[in-house]
């Protein structure tokens, strides 16, 4: 069968292998579980997005006139919790990673399919508790749950929300565990570590953080819950506790959690840029190793969230310099990505537009991260809109752009249909423009001194806030479009060939959409399998 041929209609694949509700809810197929995740994270993204719009419209005017301050505080808290724990952390790993990692390593499924399904159910139960917290009154502690506000002073639904996050953490741990075992033990013959797709490398690094970081937030939430429920003096200074210890434990997970969000995105970008430049990634070893370096160093920098808590000057210096070091692997990646295009054959389909947008936004996000690592500078902008702008450049400009890029890139493989290219390009451009208009003014606002989590603000900050709100409206439109045209493509899109973009990798050698077992025969991989300089028929290893 030719690689541009469309599979015959009615041919068996994972989508038409059973239609009943139970065939989805009890599935052990990693591809179907990925789709379950896709639906549920989209739901939480829409909720979190509505919260974001409410925040931006409240900030259109200096006075707190659209929402009461209690409501506003709950809205930004829920925006943070939903977007961080229920969208960004599971986004690329649980959807794209789940779908692609077994195929990319030439396996029929993840090592533990039942645990994979269990992780989705755990995620749903965690999400359920969080929704329950919203419906029954909301939480107002900020997604950071700083003590003693969260344990003693807030009279909102802290317990339900904390329980939701605690539970969903286990879903993340199980996903990471499954990936690590799959990558170690399920690789096809010949698929050595030095041939592994960079998407898989990035997920390996992510999984390390998931299994080593997540339990720490779990125990921390447990301690917060125990303090709130039984009045224990663990973080409450009135009972001899130390509220700053909470911040240490919280950021020990939550800083590496940022890398859970961005590392898989870096994996996606590595695949996309290679494909649309028709070149293997420049400096493969350095890009792969830098993922691991980021994961390891990322565990040693949590203290940079606490430069203003009166921690010792020397601790501050140690955390500052390690933070600078963690910037180096990111710089290495960025230069390698850009160099991959050198002497390539570059084309500009939607995934590539997202990838190029990512390069720009991630560069700005990463460099402003180094601003914040600079001790004397951080004191001024800590807890201002500068921080808000910075982490949105990483989480939205980085993680979200790469998620959308990846979703478009593998959409033909996942759905078996092509998305409409013109609409998709337009939405990519809208997202890029809207994003910059939303968040760039916030850097300036931050340097001017506008603190974050402010419901009302002095009038001189208004112009920049209006710009930001205008940008958010464009951004929202950019996010709505894919929702429509991707659904549209399921019914009306042309059938996708095996390899619509001429990419390398095992997933492009099997049908779109794949059969339930992925491969009929275990593929045997060699060095040419991933080589972009060879014609497509010479790299075929799947029969």
């Amino acid at each position: 069968m030719s690689y541009h041929a469309v599979p015959a209609p009615g041919q068996k694949n994972y989508l038409n292998n059973g239609y009943g509700l139970m065939s989805w809810l009890l599935t052990k197929d990693h591809k179907r579980i990925a789709l379950l995740y896709l639906l549920s994270i989209t739901f939480f993204f829409i909720l979190g997005g509505i919260m974001a719009i409410l925040i931006r419209y409240e900030l259109l005017t200096p006075a707190g006139d659209l929402l009461q301050s209690e409501t506003y505080n709950k809205v930004f808290t829920m925006h943070g919790i939903l977007m961080v724990f229920f969208f960004l952390i599971p986004s690329i790993p649980a959807v794209l990673g789940n779908f692609l990692i077994p195929i990319m390593v030439g396996a029929k499924d993840l090592a533990f399919p039942r645990i994979n399904l269990l992780s989705w159910y755990i995620y749903v139960v965690g999400g359920g508790f969080t929704l329950w917290a919203i419906v029954t009154g909301g939480v107002d502690t900020g997604w950071t749950f700083y003590t003693p506000y969260s344990t003693v002073y807030s009279n909102t639904k802290v317990m339900a929300a904390a329980l939701g996050i605690f539970i969903s953490g286990f879903s993340s741990i199980l996903t990471g565990l499954n990936f690590i075992v799959t990558i170690h033990r399920m690789r096809a013959p010949g698929l050595t570590w030095s041939r592994l797709p960079l998407f898989v490398w990035a997920h390996y690094a992510t999984s390390l953080i998931m299994i080593l970081g997540t339990p720490v937030i779990a125990i921390t939430i447990l301690l917060v819950g125990a303090e709130r429920a039984f009045g224990l003096g663990i973080f409450d200074p009135k009972l001899g506790g130390d509220p700053v210890l909470f911040q240490h434990l919280f950021w020990f997970y939550s800083h590496p959690a940022v890398y859970i969000m961005i590392l898989p995105g870096m994996g996606v970008i590595s695949e996309i840029i290679a494909c649309f430049s028709r070149k293997n990634i420049f400096g493969y070893n350095f890009v792969a190793a830098s993922s691991i370096a980021i994961a390891v160093l990322g565990f040693l920098v949590w203290g940079h969230h606490m430069f203003t808590t009166s921690q010792s000057v020397y601790a501050g210096m140690a955390f500052s310099i390690i933070t600078f070091l963690v910037g180096i692997p990111s710089a290495i990646k960025t230069f390698n990505w850009a160099s991959t295009m050198y002497k390539g054959s570059v084309s500009f389909e939607t995934p590539m537009l997202y990838a190029l947008g990512f390069l720009g936004l991630f560069t700005i996000g990463g460099l402003t991260g180094l601003f914040l690592a600079t001790l004397g500078f951080d004191i001024h902008v800590h807890d201002t809109y500068f921080i808000v702008a910075h982490f949105h450049y990483i989480m939205v400009g980085g993680a979200m752009m790469s998620y959308l890029g990846g979703l478009h890139f593998w959409w033909p493989k996942i759905s078996g249909k092509m998305y409409p290219e013109a609409w998709a390009r337009m939405s990519a451009i809208l997202v890029f423009a809207g994003f910059n208009l939303t968040f760039f003014p916030q850097f300036i606002l931050g340097y001017l001194g506008m603190p974050r989590r402010y419901h009302a603000y002095p009038p001189e900050f208004q112009v920049l806030n209006v710009l930001s709100t205008a940008g958010a409206s464009i951004l929202a439109l950019g996010y709505l479009l894919p929702g429509f045209y991707l659904l549209w493509s399921l019914k009306y899109g042309p059938d996708a060939p095996k390899n619509p973009f001429g990419a390398r990798g095992l997933e492009w050698q099997i049908d779109s959409p794949p059969i339930t077992e992925n491969f009929t025969v275990t593929p045997v991989v060699d060095d040419d399998t991933f080589d972009y300089s060879l014609p497509e028929k010479e790299v075929a290893v799947v029969r």
Binding site: H184, P215, I219, G231, G240, G241, E517, T520
Partner: protein
């Protein structure tokens, strides 16, 4: 790198002998459909448990960190509170768990030798010792309740200046031993499963792998106690001030 190359080769090497039909399905009933060989399956299960135990270490690590930091901040109240733990019961529990680890190791060995009787006997011994641990723990806990040493509104401590530190000690004591006890209960549940399965099994490689994996978990839970016992019961025993 070499170990992984070996892994890749096993993947290929054992793909054939088991026998796969044209659809990629093998005919071995002990093998899940997505594995190529029993060896690959066993290796995957065991690596999975090791990874899970790494997670567990970080989980207990968080609360151990809190304990160490507070112990350093308030060494005197912590030492005084530590005196209220029963060294004899704690010591007894330590012995129970160490012996249970031994019997667990025997159970794994007998399973490998396909000795059903020895396997079941050792497993039952392990479970009895584990249950004994929980019974002793129950008596220790109820003693804390009668002496008002449970953190919360009913907590009583004579020396007011040290009350916060002592209450913190007991908060962390209950947190750490409670989490450990929950892990023991889960472990007993897992052992019950392989006990029931052990009555019928023909001891294929997959089952032996499972027993070994459960053994890993059981040893881990024991090791956690080996850390908790000195930290909570022994440090500061020599201190008699107050």
């Amino acid at each position: 790198m070499s170990a992984d190359t070996v892994g890749a080769v096993t993947h290929a090497g054992h793909g054939g002998p088991v026998g796969t039909d044209p659809d990629g399905h093998h005919d071995n009933p002990h093998l899940a459909h997505h594995f190529d060989s029993e060896e690959q399956q066993t290796e995957a299960t065991q690596l999975g448990m090791w990874v899970f135990l790494a997670t567990e270490i970080m989980f207990f690590g968080g609360v151990l960190t809190a304990y160490m930091i507070y112990r350093m901040k308030a060494p005197v109240p912590f030492a005084a509170a530590s005196h209220h733990l029963d060294l004899t019961l704690g010591g007894l529990n330590t012995i129970l768990l160490i012996v249970s680890s031994l019997t667990m190791a025997f159970a794994v060995r007998q399973a490998a030798l396909k000795d059903r009787r020895g396997y079941l006997l050792n497993l039952i011994m392990t479970m009895i010792l584990g249950t004994g641990f929980l019974v002793v723990k129950y008596f220790e806990y109820s003693e804390k309740f009668t002496h008002h040493l449970v953190p919360g509104p009913k907590f009583q401590w004579a020396n007011l200046g040290q009350a916060h530190g002592a209450e913190q000690f007991f908060s962390l004591y209950f947190m750490m031993t409670g989490l450990h006890a929950i892990h023991m209960v889960i472990g007993l549940g897992l052992l019950t499963v392989i006990l029931i399965q052990g009555r019928r099994t023909t001891f294929p490689a997959r089952f032996k792998g499972r027993v070994e994996t459960m053994g890993l978990y059981w040893h881990f839970v024991d090791i956690v106690w080996i850390f908790l016992f000195p930290l909570l019961y022994l440090i500061g025993r020599h201190y008699h001030g107050g």
